[in-house]
């Protein structure tokens, strides 16, 4: 018990120290610390040191989501209350919830297990635990990082003089806990500002922030500046160039992930080079598809009627109803182009490439192929079927 009380005393003193040292920090932090101070008194039986640091937030799902500032005091107080309710279990138990999918879920649920806590007392032990924690989550860090545009991890240096703080991965509804390992004594609260991703000033500021010393006050910039704080990961170079490189690489990999969802059949592909090849192929086939379709329109078109404008737009826009009607119309009404769905996959490969000298024959066959593809795609959502399924299938069967 006494150890716990000592911890509490230490925590309170550390908090007060922090409060004093953060005179120049913005009022946000000082106001945030107050509930902690008030709550830490009630921590009582739970032997939790109070390392608090603010984390970066993320919507968690889409990589390009905007990021919001850390939130107001009431939510923070809520967190603190949860903290008090959390009877300090094993650190391993707390480590468990930090795998990525749980983080994703938990971020929406505000569960207590999201908190990283040092249940053990003592500075060194706490920091070592958080270090171990850091190491464990280096592996999951990539995944974590991926879900937010800037994975900024902090070093948790085992500094003996550092005041006790609890590493908390604060989590409100919009918050996705990024730096779950983040527990560093002296400095860092990296905050992510909204609309910072594209800011090239981010890197320079980030480098400066890393080079700064223990003053956490200095590491907190004015909230109005739009840039990303970058922290060096443990065991990696703190060179400004490498930091900028890492930020850039993370941005690129995040965008590659987005593209992976767009391009069909790329879920299992790992590796940028192969992925880029797939993307290039897909864009090429899409462009060729548009060319081919416009060629088709050129041959069909002379009969288009001005009055059909409205009908056309309605049918195109309301694709589900239109598709059935169209497909019903197509085979029925078109005598010059005999529809023989069975002809193709063998014949397609022999057809030359959009040679305007003999449009009718290739048009027919490819048209039917496209119709088949579209029918396949229409079972699901039509647009998806057009772009994704259609192209995917078509790649195997023929080359445009």
């Amino acid at each position: 018990m006494t150890s716990e009380n000592d911890d509490m005393g230490l925590a309170m003193s550390s908090i007060s120290m922090f409060n004093k040292s953060s005179n120049t920090s913005d009022s946000f932090f000082s106001s945030c610390w107050d509930p902690i101070v008030s709550q830490s008194g009630s921590l009582g039986g739970s032997s939790m040191a109070s390392h608090y640091h603010l984390v970066m937030e993320n919507q968690g799902i889409s990589g390009t989501s905007h990021v919001s500032h850390y939130q107001s005091d009431p939510s923070f107080v809520e967190l603190v209350s949860k903290l008090t309710g959390f009877d300090g279990g094993n650190l391993s138990q707390m480590v468990g919830p930090f795998s990525l999918p749980q983080c994703n879920q938990v971020a929406n649920r505000r569960c207590p297990p999201n908190f990283t806590l040092n249940t053990e007392g003592g500075n060194e032990r706490g920091s070592t635990n958080s270090l171990r924690f850091l190491d464990e989550h280096r592996i999951s860090k990539e995944a974590l990082v991926g879900t937010s545009p800037n994975g900024k991890i902090r070093k948790c240096a085992p500094e003996s003089g550092s005041p006790l703080r609890s590493c908390k991965n604060g989590d409100e509804e919009p918050v996705m806990d990024l730096s779950s390992e983040g527990c560093d004594g002296p400095r860092e609260q990296a905050r992510k500002k909204p609309e910072t991703e594209q800011n090239t000033g981010a890197n320079s500021r980030g480098k400066q922030a890393v080079k700064q010393d223990k003053d956490s006050s200095q590491s907190e910039e004015a909230p109005k500046e739009n840039y990303i704080h970058v922290r060096a990961r443990r065991g990696q170079a703190t060179n400004s160039h490498s930091l900028a490189e890492r930020v850039r690489r993370e941005k690129i990999s995040e965008r590659m992930r987005l593209l992976q969802e767009l391009v069909p059949g790329c879920n299992k592909i790992t590796g940028k080079a192969v992925m880029l090849d797939e993307i290039i192929n897909y864009v090429q086939s899409l462009q060729q598809q548009v060319e081919f379709l416009s060629m088709k329109l050129a041959t069909v078109n002379p009969e288009i009627n001005l009055d059909l404008d409205r009908i056309l737009s309605k049918d195109i826009l309301h694709q589900r109803s239109g598709s059935a009607a169209v497909l019903g119309l197509g085979p029925g009404s078109n005598s010059p182009y005999g529809f023989s769905p069975s002809t193709f996959p063998g014949t397609i490969s022999g057809i030359p490439n959009k040679n305007p000298q003999f449009p009718p024959l290739p048009q027919t066959v490819l048209e039917n192929e496209l119709l088949n593809l579209f029918q396949m795609g229409f079972s699901g959502s039509t647009m998806d079927g057009f772009g994704l399924n259609g192209i995917h299938r078509s790649k195997q069967s023929y080359i445009f």
Partner: protein
């Protein structure tokens, strides 16, 4: 998906409206069905240009690739009419290309070959670093699928109504 269909200001509806208008313009003068290959080819090119133009106009200038497409279309039409402007256009292309090459050397070290190919594919991609290029590619893919879909549906409906 349904919401997207009904949204009057969605990409699909914007593109479709423009494209249909262009289509009717293209087809209006040709009351006599001319099935000579040359005519068909000419019409094909006009339709393709109309499709690209409609797509680029639907996106306005929000994207680099749309701006590049619009610029390219304008300079092409201009250079066809006036020879003097062609020189200016070529100068412009040269500057953008050189600027793009500098960027390429600086940024594209890791995936140089594929990035270059992608740059050639995506309009306006020469002057972008890999990060923005991937962004533009994602949007471009989305718009290409919309474009292809609308052109296809237009074709189906046209032949269905003839």
């Amino acid at each position: 998906m349904d919401l997207q269909n009904l949204n009057p200001s969605s990409l699909k509806s914007r593109f479709t409206a423009r494209f249909l208008r262009a289509l009717t313009e293209i087809n209006a003068p040709k009351t006599i069905s001319s099935s000579s290959p040359r005519e068909i080819f000419q019409r094909y090119r006009r339709i393709k240009v109309a499709a690209d133009k409609s797509m680029a106009y639907s996106v306005r200038s929000r994207r680099i690739w749309s701006r590049a497409t619009l610029w390219r279309l304008r300079t092409r039409s201009r250079s066809r009419r006036l020879v003097s402007f062609g020189r200016r256009a070529s100068v412009k292309t040269r500057t953008t290309a050189s600027h793009g090459k500098e960027n390429k050397e600086h940024h594209g070290a890791v995936l140089g070959v594929q990035a270059e190919e992608l740059r050639e594919l995506v309009p306006g991609g020469e002057a972008m670093d890999l990060c923005n290029l991937l962004d533009e590619t994602a949007h471009y893919i989305k718009c290409l699928t919309t474009q292809g879909f609308c052109v296809y549906m237009g074709g189906l409906l046209c032949e269905g109504c003839c």
